[in-house]
């Protein structure tokens, strides 16, 4: 049967949240250097793309857990028989 309520992902939310905040803080604190490098174009085009993937992994993980912790979850499918 298992427990009635699933355990909420507090741990994942906190870890992913801290990493996200750190990433955003680093981006904003070092914005001049970052824009200088990323704005060079050419082969430097990989930098913004990789950055976007890294941010989406951590911030995506955080926002996913965030809604679950708040109790906003997908509708559970019921067997209709």
């Amino acid at each position: 049967m298992g427990s009635y309520r699933k355990k909420k992902p507090y741990g994942s939310m906190i870890i992913m949240g801290i990493v996200s905040i750190a990433l955003y803080a680093a981006l904003l604190v070092k914005q001049d250097i970052i824009n200088g490098i990323f704005g060079k174009g050419g082969i430097y085009a990989f930098f913004p793309i990789i950055t976007a993937f890294i941010f989406s992994y951590f911030h995506g993980g955080f926002t996913g857990s965030f809604w679950t912790v708040l109790g906003v979850e997908a509708k559970k499918k019921r067997e209709v028989k």
Partner: protein
């Protein structure tokens, strides 16, 4: 493009006000995208430009937030079994070609007729496509709502049945969302059109989603979820192209992403609570509202090109601000319908669960 990069080194200064603005627009845009597969971009590009971001940097930064957002959204919706990855990739690749061709047309129009000519082309494309496709989608959703058949399985259109019946040896591919084999000779032009629209008005999904539903015969939920895969493929290629010219302002892209990832998760969750016709309803409502916003700008560009008499400065300003306000209203309205539908769905779910529990006690 390299020469463009050297001219556009003016990345704007960010303060708390404009960061909050981008975060919030990102959130609402993400919410709508999570639900209907696209949207939000049409507000974000002009929104960034209103902060003083040069047009190309706004387009590039918007695209660079779009592909990671679409990635997160499609992974989320794949968990609900709504994504047809194969269809998304097949359409996405041809959409990429459409984006490149669309951008090429844009450049030529700009060269021949200047900024006003290019803006007029974009606005007319907006009005015509949104009127035809948006009107059709909204009518269909409204008919379903009125007929009281919102719970019934979605009907496959005649054209989709015809497309599914055509057998062209060597080009047939099975797609799980459609549960039929379809010739890629049909999907290629659809993907191409989606890409061309994305390059022109920034929202390819306004063609992509209705095309998957009405021309290929995919269910609404799967079409809107699969659109996220197309947006990812297109956005990744497009972002790389712009980044090669140094046009992506990563700060803008990531701040919008911060808001939009909250939104897209919520929008994706929302799809599990609503009936399929709601996808069409939200999409149709947004498309038809945005149409008015763009239509207001047509006389402005026409007067700039000398096609009609010169308009007063005050008239131009009123038209511009009204147009922008309608666009924000369209997005907010879409978000409101999504949240309301989700709220109702959750309430019904809770009531049903309570009933089950009380029956259990007896």
């Amino acid at each position: 493009m390299q020469d463009v990069a050297s001219q556009v080194s003016n990345f704007i200064d960010l303060n708390w006000m404009n960061m909050t603005y981008l975060f919030l627009v990102g959130f609402v845009g993400g919410l709508v995208s999570g639900f209907i597969g696209s949207g939000g971009a049409f507000v974000l590009t002009p929104g960034m430009m209103s902060l003083g971001v040069p047009g190309l940097v706004a387009v590039a930064s918007n695209m660079c937030h779009k592909f990671p957002k679409a990635l997160v959204g499609s992974i989320k919706r794949a968990k609900y079994g709504q994504v047809d990855v194969k269809l998304g990739i097949v359409l996405g690749i041809s959409a990429e070609a459409g984006v490149l061709y669309g951008a090429h047309i844009q450049e030529n129009i700009k060269k021949a007729f200047g900024d006003a000519g290019s803006n007029l082309y974009v606005s007319v494309a907006f009005v015509v496509i949104l009127a035809v496709v948006g009107g059709f989608v909204l009518r269909d959703a409204w008919k379903t709502y009125k007929s009281g058949t919102t719970d019934a399985a979605e009907k496959v259109t005649k054209i989709a049945k015809w497309v599914q019946s055509i057998q062209i040896p060597g080009t047939m591919v099975y797609f799980k969302s459609i549960d039929a084999r379809i010739s890629v000779l049909f999907t290629i032009p659809l993907g191409f059109a989606t890409g061309m629209l994305a390059a022109t008005i920034a929202v390819g999904g306004f063609i992509g989603v209705p095309a998957m539903i009405y021309v290929l015969g995919a269910p609404s939920l799967m079409a809107s979820a699969t659109e996220l895969v197309i947006a990812f493929v297109m956005g990744l290629g497009g972002s790389f192209k712009y980044a090669m010219s140094g046009l992506v302002d990563i700060r803008l892209a990531m701040i919008i992403l911060a808001g939009s990832l909250f939104g897209i998760q919520l929008g994706a969750i929302g799809t599990t609570y609503v009936k399929p016709f709601m996808i069409k309803m939200v999409m149709g409502v947004i498309m038809v509202t945005v149409l008015f916003s763009r239509a207001l700008m047509v006389p402005v560009y026409m007067s700039q090109l000398g096609l009609i008499g010169t308009l007063e400065d005050t008239t131009v300003n009123v038209l511009k601000s009204t147009s922008f306000a309608i666009m924000i209203f369209a997005l907010a309205l879409g978000a409101f319908i999504v949240l309301k539908a989700m709220w109702q769905g959750r309430r019904e779910e809770k009531l049903a669960a309570r009933e089950v529990v009380s029956h259990g006690k007896i």
